[in-house]
């Protein structure tokens, strides 16, 4: 390339008389375009069918439009009210609320609004339902008095503070809930000890994933080492034992573990049969954290062995031999020479196993009981049972951030181009 830059006054020409530089950059542009055209269909497909849905869902974690949309007049009326005082809002705010509620009842929005606000302060759900029934009978002057007579909660400034606090179109309430915190007038504060749940669940998800990763490394290492040492023919045969679980359906493996770990299952039966435990003292290995850890270690083990093996294959045996000939014993040779060279393999496998583990849903759901479930199970619960989609989105966003950080680390350590399968 350097000679192209040199003779500036006499450009090198191609056969058809164009400057070589221009011609080359045109070819480069064409090449880029060609590559891009090949990539574009999949890129568009992934963006539309995968990335867009996820972004769309994550936006729910800050969406609060239901409050200003259902109570537009109340939100305006409350602008003048100072939430710091212990005074209740004036009559116009109550009148606006009753008018908003009447419309909400007609569109059946008031119960949904109640559920939304109930996430921030309990009691709103029933308050909205009762008030929805009451507004039909309220008329004339002193709306304030009538509404308070219908439900005394409207005489509580705290209810109004919450309303005012959550009157914007966006909210950080869901993210705060996902971190066991809540918004108050004086800023963010943590929930009382007894009501915290998500930080503990995140912590448990991380701890259990870490345990699973460590177990995988611990039992994957010897096998990868053996496979890397054995002659190709033998190791290929043994490799099938690693690849078979890798290729077997996740549900098949989970059902196998369910069959094995039950109290009336194969393992307990065997232990009773050989007399290690009595029939009345069967081990509880399922519907708890133990079940999740055993089953997931088995399921994720191949993801540790395969990268480890591919790194170990590249370690030349001559280093170990050299160390031994210099007087090192087997252990020293392994520990000082071989092991450090295999660390990248452990890193690659560990990050991969960890990434996969923290997002697991099916296996904890089936064998985890209540103490062996992950944050994913909680997300599913909020989507299909409690219907708190905003919180599900916030929890999902936090989980996704964790995974993306790990993915970034993985990319730096191993490189996504170097992911190998099978």
């Amino acid at each position: 390339m350097t000679q192209l830059d040199m003779p500036a006054q006499a450009p090198v020409l191609t056969q058809d008389g164009r400057p070589l530089k221009a011609s080359l950059s045109r070819a480069l542009r064409r090449e880029k375009l060609r590559a891009f055209v090949l990539i574009l269909p999949l890129l568009a497909f992934v963006l539309l069918t995968f990335a867009a849905p996820i972004v769309d869902m994550l936006l729910r974690s800050v969406d609060n439009s239901i409050v200003p949309q259902t109570l537009p007049r109340t939100v305006v009326a409350l602008e003048l009210w100072d939430p710091q005082t212990d005074e209740l809002p004036e009559e116009p705010a109550y009148a606006a609320l009753v008018e908003d509620l009447r419309e909400a009842v007609a569109q059946k929005m008031h119960t949904r609004l109640g559920s939304r606000l109930n996430y921030e302060q309990s009691g709103f759900s029933s308050l909205m339902r009762k008030s929805g029934r009451a507004v039909e009978t309220i008329s004339g002057s002193d709306v304030k008095g009538q509404l308070i007579a219908a439900d005394s909660a409207w005489a509580d400034p705290q209810i109004w503070r919450t309303l005012k606090l959550y009157s914007g179109t966006t909210t950080k309430g869901y993210f705060l809930s996902a971190l066991d915190a809540r918004q108050t007038l004086d800023g963010v504060e943590m929930l009382p000890e007894g009501e915290r749940i998500y930080l503990m669940l995140f912590g448990r998800t991380l701890m259990m994933s870490l345990t699973i990763t460590l177990l995988c490394a611990l039992i994957g290492y010897p096998v990868a080492f053996l496979l890397a040492q054995l002659p190709m023919r033998t190791s290929n045969m043994l490799m099938i034992l690693v690849l078979l679980p890798f290729w077997t359906s996740l549900l098949v493996r989970t059902s196998a573990w369910k069959v094995l770990l039950q109290q009336q299952g194969v393992i307990n039966d065997m232990l009773v049969w050989i007399g290690l435990i009595s029939d009345g003292n069967r081990l509880v290995m399922m519907n708890n954290a133990t079940g999740t850890i055993i089953a997931m270690t088995h399921i994720l083990l191949p993801f540790m062995i395969l990268p480890l093996y591919s790194v170990m294959k590249t370690i030349s045996p001559s280093y170990m031999r050299a160390a031994r000939s210099l007087g090192a014993n087997d252990w020293t040779a392994f520990w000082r020479i071989y092991f450090p060279q295999s660390v990248p393999g452990i890193g690659a496998g560990a990050v991969l196993v960890f990434i996969l583990a923290i997002g697991y849903y099916i296996t904890p759901e089936l064998v985890g009981g209540t103490s062996g479930i992950f944050i994913s199970n909680r997300i599913a619960y909020h989507i299909s049972s409690s219907l708190n989609w905003g919180l599900a989105a916030a929890l999902g966003a936090l989980l996704l951030i964790a995974v993306l950080v790990l993915f970034y680390v993985y990319d730096k350590v191993v490189g996504i181009d170097n992911v190998k399968l099978g």
């Binding site: 759900s125 007894g194 039950q262 209540t370």
Partner: protein, 366 residues
């Protein structure tokens, strides 16, 4: 995002419009033995009567509220008729996700000419709900537990007696019913139940009582789990719907028996999703009229031990279709079975569900 949505929607529409025909009726229900009983009592005779109508069974009733809300939000309702429990119908009706129906227009009169809403009586719990059956949630236990030394549980509170009746309990992973049962066994009288529960201390009292057996509980979220655990011996006592226990006892002949003490009555029935396609309505109405008439409701009891919601169907309940046994003693409404009972307090739970559920989930995760 907007553009993408429009583009995809257009593409999707062109793909899907071909496959849906007007004569398809998508009916959502619970699956398992319950769906089978509906299939035998309602779907098959209806399809035999109306040739060209094809009923598609969807077993998503468990997630019905979530899915209906998503469909409603998207403005794309793909279900025609949905089977839900009473409390869910209340929520769907409150949120405008279910259609309000006029009983005079939608439901057939009793054979003697009694108006439908009179015949259905107290089971018509809200303006959207079309009742089918009365069911109850109650307990079943294994009859061959060695550690019990021949004793069998006779009262609800034996559930909490782990000394006399050791072994795993299978309870629903929801506060409803568990809270009531715990309080009843903690000395609260039936009449005070919801008064106590309305105070936060009441819920804490119930959870404290449940704490005494927490380590012995395996939680369930699908009705078939308890019968399965009882049959496998994974649990020795468990709560579930009475029809599921009937099937494990009488049809599968497992060593399991019923404990009817303090069973909780509930209704189950149909709702029509709001926003269902206009041109489907006549067919939906025809199906509902057919499937909830006096004879059809009585027919369902031939396949599963749930009581028909119509008064006029009661005398028609006969024998089990395959086993030939008399179904009446297995009905939750049989006088011998309802010495102590509760009726699900839909109103209270609708008002307090969110709070209690949150407290229960925190307790559960500890």
């Amino acid at each position: 995002m907007k553009l993408a949505t429009t583009l995809l929607a257009t593409a999707a529409l062109s793909l899907t419009s071909i496959s849906v025909q007007a004569a398809d009726l998508t009916i959502v229900s619970w699956g398992g033995a319950y769906s089978a009983s509906q299939n035998n009592a309602y779907h098959k005779p209806f399809m035999a009567m109306k040739s060209g109508v094809n009923i598609i069974n969807d077993e998503s009733s468990n997630e019905a509220v979530a899915k209906l809300r998503a469909m409603n939000e998207a403005g794309n309702v793909t279900w025609d008729i949905v089977d839900v429990e009473g409390p869910d119908s209340q929520r769907l009706c409150d949120e405008g996700l279910a259609m309000e129906i006029d009983p005079a227009e939608w439901l057939a009169k009793a054979p003697d000419g009694t108006e439908a809403y009179v015949d259905f009586g107290p089971s018509m719990i809200n303006k959207c709900f079309i009742p089918q059956i009365v069911f109850s949630t109650t307990f079943g236990y294994r009859t061959d537990v060695k550690e019990w030394n021949g004793a069998v549980p006779t009262s609800l509170c034996d559930i909490f007696d782990t000394a006399k009746f050791p072994g795993k309990r299978s309870l629903e992973k929801r506060p409803k019913k568990n809270i009531e049962w715990a309080l009843l066994c903690d000395g609260v009288a039936k009449d005070d139940l919801y008064k106590v529960m309305s105070k936060p201390e009441g819920i804490q009292q119930a959870l404290a009582k449940l704490d005494t057996i927490k380590k012995d509980v395996i939680w369930w979220s699908a009705g078939a789990e308890t019968p399965q655990r009882l049959a496998d011996g994974e649990a020795v006592i468990g709560s579930t719907y009475n029809g599921r226990l009937f099937s494990v006892i009488e049809e599968q002949k497992q060593p399991v028996a019923m404990l009817w003490d303090w069973q909780v009555f509930d209704f189950d029935g149909w709702i029509i999703p709001a926003g269902v396609k206009e041109d489907k309505l006549p067919l939906i109405k025809e199906y509902i009229q057919f499937a909830t008439d006096t004879q059809r409701l009585a027919d369902q009891a031939k396949y599963i031990s749930y009581g028909p919601a119509r008064a006029s169907s009661q005398p028609l309940v006969g024998k089990h279709a395959d086993l030939g046994i008399d179904m009446a003693p297995h009905m939750p409404t049989n006088p011998a079975n309802q010495k102590n009972y509760l009726v699900n307090n839909i109103e209270w739970w609708a008002d307090n569900q969110d709070e209690v559920e949150a407290a229960f989930q925190v307790w559960l995760a500890k």
